[in-house]
Symmetry: C2
Subunit: 241 residues, 2 copies
């Protein structure tokens, strides 16, 4: 009796959504890499008829026994062979008509990989690195997702030292500065840049030099997370409008 009532209410609640209201949950990964001085993103050609020939982000539907983080790790592992890259949830896109095949809600992830790692393991030539600045149209709402993640990346690299994920373990200060300049589309004064970075204490002198370079070689450094944590601990609260 009461059971019936509750059941009815439950169905009414369901009907509210529509009895045939089905949706899928997926992840889409915006995988950034820094290659030959250019910020690039890893894309695949869409196989959806509506978007034939357009470029699409790497993604997949959520599986039963995984959460969204695990799903995006899985996508990256399966598609690039790379594990343990930097990965961060950015935003969930849920516009009603964003996907032609039905109601698909998709959570966007931003990933940073070292293009060299990827090159070693890739065999799938349906994937291509695209210069971010040259991308115009994409499949679905993926251009919007890309732009959202690019903005998130620009904001984040100014506040936290994540950009090292785009570089080799050992890098020259010039490379480091170039990545910042490429991603942010601004230029830094070399001397001030060095001062700033050294002041954080997060760079470790590896006592090695560049070797493959056609001019005076620079020193190589690596990034030390603990040193950064100690540094930033003098935490910094205030109004930065």
């Amino acid at each position: 009796m009461l059971d019936e009532t509750i059941k009815t209410m439950a169905y009414r609640a369901l009907n509210d959504q529509g009895p045939d209201f089905k949706y899928s949950l997926s992840v889409d990964c915006v995988i950034f890499g820094y290659d030959e001085g250019i910020l690039k993103v890893l894309l695949i050609e869409s196989d959806q008829p509506e978007y034939y020939g357009k470029w699409s982000l790497l993604g997949d539907v959520l599986h039963k026994h995984e959460d969204l983080n695990q799903a995006s790790y899985r996508v990256l592992r399966e598609r690039t062979g790379v594990s343990n890259m930097y990965l961060e949830q950015v935003k969930t896109f849920s516009e009603v008509n964003r996907h032609p095949a039905g109601r698909v809600v998709s959570t966007a992830y931003l990933a940073l990989v070292n293009v060299k790692d990827y090159k070693l393991k890739s065999v799938d030539n349906a994937l291509h690195w695209h210069p971010v600045s040259e991308i115009d149209a994409m499949a679905f709402d993926h251009k919007l997702i890309l732009d959202t993640c690019l903005n998130a990346l620009r904001k984040k690299i100014q506040q936290e030292p994540i950009i090292f994920n785009l570089l080799d373990k050992k890098f020259s200060l010039r490379k480091l500065q170039q990545v910042f300049e490429e991603v942010l589309a601004i230029e830094f004064d070399r001397r001030n840049f060095r001062k700033k970075l050294f002041a954080t204490g997060m760079l470790v002198d590896e006592n090695e030099m560049e070797s493959d370079v056609h001019h005076r070689p620079g020193k190589l450094y690596s990034f030390n997370l603990q040193a950064y944590e100690r540094f930033k601990h003098k935490s910094f609260v205030g109004l930065h409008f």
Copy 2:
């Protein structure tokens, strides 16, 4: 309360539909208000047997013809009568076992409301404002969601002028400073705070004074978004580790 039951039944019904992998998508709203000098959050008592008597965020499942933004606006409108409040997507929580009734993926929204608006329209006394600092256990993973949104709030108010959403249209500088201090749990020097805020040009002198106050009344100001946009346009890129 009954609402909560229906929601639960709806989740269960979805999960009981055959062997296929079914899940629900929902929104959970972390609604912040500033009341009597205290940062508070609007909560409802959970009637989930697993969480009986625990406090829960306001949320609902996603409906067929709406996206997540619209769903969270709907929840706020239905539950508080307030429209047009500040609302921002924060993060999607998808842990496999986060909900006892089945697989529920939930997108968290941060909302800022003026408690006075809410007081005028509320009739639902299952809802209560809770001081954020006094909340320990909550239903589901809602404590985690709350903490995540609180951190997002703290970060965001330091970078963008959204805190005005917690105050009346006209406010004294003291009130404004107190909200900042309460949310960030730090103190500002009064003179420097004024200088900083006036320098942004986003405060409009309303040529009115406080009236209900037991000491020398302060001037009232309002927030001017356009002025802020003009101000921040001298945009600010750099490394702020």
